[in-house]
């Protein structure tokens, strides 16, 4: 099993969700986050005082998938969340030791 953590542009969230639903990925956790990579922030000016804001709003999607589905999910996600401009975000993949469904003690792939 792999855990996929995707940090994407907030306005691409709906596209990404729809695309993942389309290939049968139903479970995910979504968090509103702030951060920055190579994309630089913006400047805000209040009564002539300039503030550099380098933490920008992003959305983080987290999901765990079976090893066999990994490449398919990554392909779907990148296609859906891509605008081609700087600031589109990143996807990180982690190994997952196990998964347990609390309701009935299902383990491993069966719990996903």
């Amino acid at each position: 099993m792999k855990r996929i953590e995707a940090i994407i542009q907030p306005h691409k969230l709906d596209d990404a969700k729809e695309a993942l639903k389309g290939i049968g990925i139903d479970g995910m956790t979504i968090t509103e986050v702030r951060g920055h990579g190579r994309q630089k922030g913006h400047t805000e000016t209040y009564r002539g005082m300039e503030y550099k804001v380098d933490l920008l709003p992003k959305v983080k999607l987290e999901m765990v998938v079976a090893d066999a589905r990994l490449e398919e999910v990554i392909k779907t996600l990148t296609a859906a969340a891509r605008t081609g401009k700087i600031g589109d975000g990143k996807i990180f993949v982690f190994e997952v030791a196990d998964a347990i469904r609390i309701r009935n003690d299902d383990r491993g792939d069966a719990a996903l």
Partner: protein, 468 residues
């Protein structure tokens, strides 16, 4: 505020009408029958009552409008401009004045400002202390057609908002006890004498006094110069906020500030048009001048910002409106609508440059720009009143020229002198008070309290909760 149109004008009019009818109808008879005189007397009384009803209605509404300027108006305007950890502490600075100043006013404040005799040049006396002699009968010295109580409560609302304006300068870093003591002493030592000098019976700068006559329709000198200059002194005495210049100190909600500024704009109609002290044409004139001044200044600030900084901001638009309202305040009952547009436009540009450019050059931390907007806007307005005041709008000097546009250039000098006195009293009074309060109660929060925010450290509560 003391600039009255002739009192009882409608009564006089009715008397003339009746007498001319009578003289026509009773030309042959040399004596007027007693029943006619009786009816005449009743008609006069009815006319006076009608005028009192109209004037009092408007003045009560105006009083409520001016209170609305302090909270929610100023509380929201200032509250939105600070960081969210200080939103309640900042709103408290405004809201508390509604309680604190009212109590002082009721006990002796009103009397020290508006009591006194024709010889009281600098301060009133205790003749109205504890509301002694302040009832439903009008006080002819100030407003002959409204109950004395209405006049008293209207003036109170000005005393409430004035110290609240200062709080913009010491936002985010003052101790609550120090703030309360400061506000109390400031009201007594700076505001009450200044109000008396300009508006009180016998006051040195007033129409009722014998000194230098300075025009101040609704409180440019008393309210905005004194509070704005005192704000500058406070900002310099207290020092900069921790992390000023290095940490982001963005307004946490320009939304709240916008709502607050809009309420200020509406409330200002009570402030300025109400200063006619009756529901006359002069009130309409001041109402229009107020609105025109605010509108022109909002546009002027916005365009100046657009040109200099690159984008027209919401905060710029509302700051401009407030600057225009401040500048038009002393002028509102003396200038034509076109002059009001001019005053507003000048104030919008000057206050923008002051706040966005000059402040940065000097480096003082007037957190919410109480000085840049009220001190500068107020002084500018006071001087421009001397330029644009005209007898076409307010024939206060019975046919004599009023301001520079009427050919009375000397008035500009009078305005500058009155402004200078307000500056002087503001600076000296505030410095002394700050020094004393700092020794007794302490003014500045500790670093830990400041970092935590006033809401938690001073009041034990928070404005916003993540978990709802």
């Amino acid at each position: 505020m003391t600039w009255l149109s002739p009192k009882n004008s409608s009564r006089t009019g009715i008397r003339c009408l009746f007498l001319s009818l009578l003289s026509a109808g009773l030309a042959a008879a040399q004596t007027v029958p007693p029943e006619i005189l009786e009816r005449l007397e009743k008609a006069e009384k009815a006319a006076a009552n009608a005028q009192t009803a109209g004037d009092n209605g408007w003045m009560l509404v105006s009083s409520a409008l001016v209170l609305m300027m302090t909270a929610p108006g100023l509380a929201l305007f200032y509250g939105g401009l600070v960081r969210k950890k200080n939103v309640l502490g900042t709103m408290m600075h405004s809201f508390l004045m509604m309680g604190l100043v009212t109590v002082i006013w009721a006990l002796f404040g009103y009397s020290l400002a508006f009591g006194g005799t024709a010889d009281s040049k600098w301060i009133g006396d205790l003749s109205f202390a504890f509301m002694n002699g302040v009832g439903t009968a009008p006080n002819g010295d100030y407003a002959g057609t409204i109950p004395h109580l209405t006049f008293m409560v209207y003036q109170l609302m000005f005393a409430v908002i004035t110290p609240a304006l200062i709080s913009g300068a010491f936002a985010e870093r003052i101790k609550f006890t120090g703030m309360m003591l400061f506000m109390t002493l400031w009201l007594i030592i700076v505001y009450l004498p200044m109000a008396h000098m300009v508006w009180g019976k016998g006051g040195y700068f007033g129409a009722l006094g014998t000194g230098i006559q300075a025009f101040d329709f609704a409180g440019g000198t008393v309210v905005h110069i004194t509070s704005g200059v005192s704000a500058l002194v406070c900002a310099m005495y207290l020092g900069k906020r921790k992390g000023y210049g290095s940490e982001a100190m963005r307004p946490h909600s320009v939304v709240l500030s916008t709502v607050g500024a809009a309420l200020l704009w509406v409330g200002w109609f009570g402030f300025n048009a109400g200063s006619a002290l009756n529901a006359s044409g002069l009130a309409s004139s001041a109402f229009v001048a107020t609105h025109f001044g605010a509108a022109a200044a909002a546009m002027a600030w916005l365009f100046a910002e657009w040109m200099v900084i690159g984008k027209p901001s919401m905060l710029g638009a509302i700051s401009g409106a407030v600057a225009g309202l401040v500048a038009i305040t002393p002028a509102s009952g003396f200038v034509t609508p076109m002059s009001a547009l001019m005053i507003g436009a000048i104030a919008g540009v000057v206050c923008f440059l002051m706040v966005a450019k000059v402040k940065a050059m000097f480096g003082y931390d007037d957190a919410l720009d109480a000085f840049g907007v009220h001190g500068i806007g107020g002084t500018l307005g006071a001087i421009l009143t001397g330029v644009f005041a005209t007898k076409e709008v307010n024939d206060l000097r019975a046919g004599m020229p009023m301001g520079l546009v009427d050919g009375n250039g000397g008035q500009v000098m009078n305005q500058i002198i009155a402004s200078a006195v307000a500056w002087g009293l503001g600076i000296v009074g505030t410095l002394v008070i700050l020094f004393v309060v700092d020794k007794i109660a302490g003014l500045r929060t500790t670093d830990a309290e400041e970092t935590e925010g006033l809401d938690l450290s001073m009041h034990g509560e928070e404005g916003y909760h993540m978990e709802g």
